[in-house]
């Protein structure tokens, strides 16, 4: 009991009451959450802690690496032979294309010069190994073994031998985080390869993607291949991205619900190629005051392109 002005003598000093401490730490965590989610201001803290934790992470990979090595050592010879055979056949199959590609690139360059277009940027890439999928179950990210030290920067596209996997979103000194295409936060401008219809493809989680904001009667068919349109200045145009697997045209909604599956081994591990950063696009012409007339602009642009 405390009389006014007299507190009971503290027998055991235990600091503030648990509830006070709880409120303090919970509010601190909430501030961190909001600061990171809304304002993205905590990247430097993350960088510092990740750099310190890097050697520890390296140590903890040892058991996994060892298990992988043992598994690889025990691969049967027949499996290897079969794989070799398969690879050789595939190489022969693509040799034809490869041989013609140089010729086509030369021809393309000449034609572009004729058309007085900006020459397509020569792309340099850097091969990286996908180390592991991030433990965070709420997003689709993988960690690759190249980072700041190797000249990787945030925003670069990552591809495998079939198509686009994702985009580098965070760079640490020796590693980088790649946000996969199937993540709900990831969007990529694409066009339908068959008819050049432009759209935006966004991740839908669970290994699938969704073609958003296309009218219910948009000309898309099951089996259509979607390639990058290159409008964003991040991805090179023409890289394969996804294949349409399901179309749900419900007239109750104004947009069709189009589900797509990624072409590349997005959720698979192995080697990947980090494409070099594209130089910034020329500054956009004076912005329209509102976004309401964007469809109109799109149509005009299409008409221009057809002429």
């Amino acid at each position: 009991m405390s009389v006014v002005g007299h507190a009971p003598p503290p027998f055991f000093k235990r600091g503030p009451a648990p509830l006070v401490r709880l409120v303090f730490f919970v509010s601190l965590s909430l501030i961190l959450l909001i600061a990171d989610l809304r304002f993205h201001t905590l990247e430097w803290v993350r960088l510092a802690v990740a750099t310190v934790a890097w050697p520890l992470q390296r140590i903890t990979w040892m058991p996994i690496d060892a298990a992988g090595d043992v598994g690889a050592y025990l691969v049967r010879q027949s499996t290897l032979l079969k794989e070799n055979e398969e690879l050789r056949r595939r190489q022969l199959g693509t040799a034809n294309l490869l041989l013609r590609q140089q010729h086509l690139e030369q021809e393309n360059m000449r034609l572009r010069a004729l058309l007085d277009m900006r020459a397509r940027l020569p792309v340099e890439g850097r091969i990286a190994e996908i180390l592991y999928a991030a433990r965070d179950p709420f997003s689709r990210r993988v960690i690759i073994d190249k980072g700041m030290q190797h000249g990787i920067g945030a925003g670069q596209a990552v591809v495998d031998d079939v198509g686009i996997i994702g985009q580098v979103v965070r760079v640490f000194p020796l590693t980088a985080e790649v946000l996969l295409l199937t993540d709900k936060d990831q969007a990529i401008p694409v066009e339908v390869q068959r008819n050049g219809l432009r759209a935006i493809l966004a991740g839908a989680g669970a290994g699938m993607m969704e073609l958003r904001f296309l009218a219910a009667n948009a000309e898309v068919q099951i089996g259509d291949i979607l390639v990058t349109s290159g409008l964003d200045g991040v991805y090179l145009p023409g890289l394969p991205v996804a294949k349409v697997v399901k179309i749900d045209r419900d007239s109750a909604y104004s947009f069709a619900r189009i589900t797509c599956a990624p072409l590349a081994g997005v959720e698979r591990h192995g080697l990947a190629l980090v494409l070099g950063a594209r130089t910034a696009l020329p500054p956009q012409p004076a912005d329209a005051p509102s976004t309401a007339d964007e469809p109109g602009r799109g149509k005009r642009a299409k008409k221009k392109a057809r002429q």
């Binding site: 730490f25 961190l32 990171d36 803290v45 992470q57 180390l131 999928a133 179950p137």
Partner: protein
């Protein structure tokens, strides 16, 4: 006759460096990249809950906050997500500590299971409010594995505190 602790053993006092070491080892175990394999327990949460139950005066919300920040970085998740969940876990575990220890180990596990599930729920709410995808029901399996591990972990972490088995006739207790 006075009721005794369910463990019925008088323990030596805990050593501080041992607590720090076990929490550090749990952090290392959490760093092992298992990817999206379901059912891998959150070792840090398990060991943190254990020490909060057994030593509520030494390990508490501050430890949970610091460990949570470390997990947020190495997990590539949002800053503050694990910190918030671990702080709440530490608070609940310390609040339960006076009650839980009277039960046998299997019932202790049943007591901590809701704590782990609540921790995962807090993380899920924190992320889904900001528009992340639902991780699937299987993700909650890790809480059940952690509760199953409560029994072995208790023996493992209390081992340095058990008195030697040989009877010393001159010992007062």
């Amino acid at each position: 006759m006075q009721p005794t602790h369910a463990s019925r053993r008088i323990l030596l006092p805990v050593r501080n460096w041992f607590i720090v070491l076990t929490l550090f080892l749990a952090l290392l175990l959490n760093l092992i990249p298992f990817g999206r394999l379901p059912g891998i327990p959150d070792w840090v949460a398990l060991v943190l809950a254990f020490w909060c139950v057994h030593q509520p005066l030494k390990v508490g919300m501050a430890a949970g906050f610091v460990l949570g920040l470390a997990m947020d970085v190495v997990d590539a998740s949002v800053m503050g997500q694990h910190a918030l969940a671990y702080v709440l876990l530490a608070f609940a575990a310390a609040g339960l500590s006076r009650r839980v220890l009277w039960f046998p180990l299997s019932q202790q596990a049943l007591h901590v299971l809701p704590l782990f599930l609540g921790m995962q729920l807090v993380m899920m709410v924190a992320r889904m409010v900001s528009g992340a995808e639902f991780p699937g029901v299987l993700w909650f399996l890790s809480s059940f594995t952690a509760a199953l591990l409560w029994h072995p972990v208790t023996y493992l972490l209390l081992m340095p505190q058990f008195r030697p088995e040989d009877k010393d006739v001159h010992r007062p207790i």
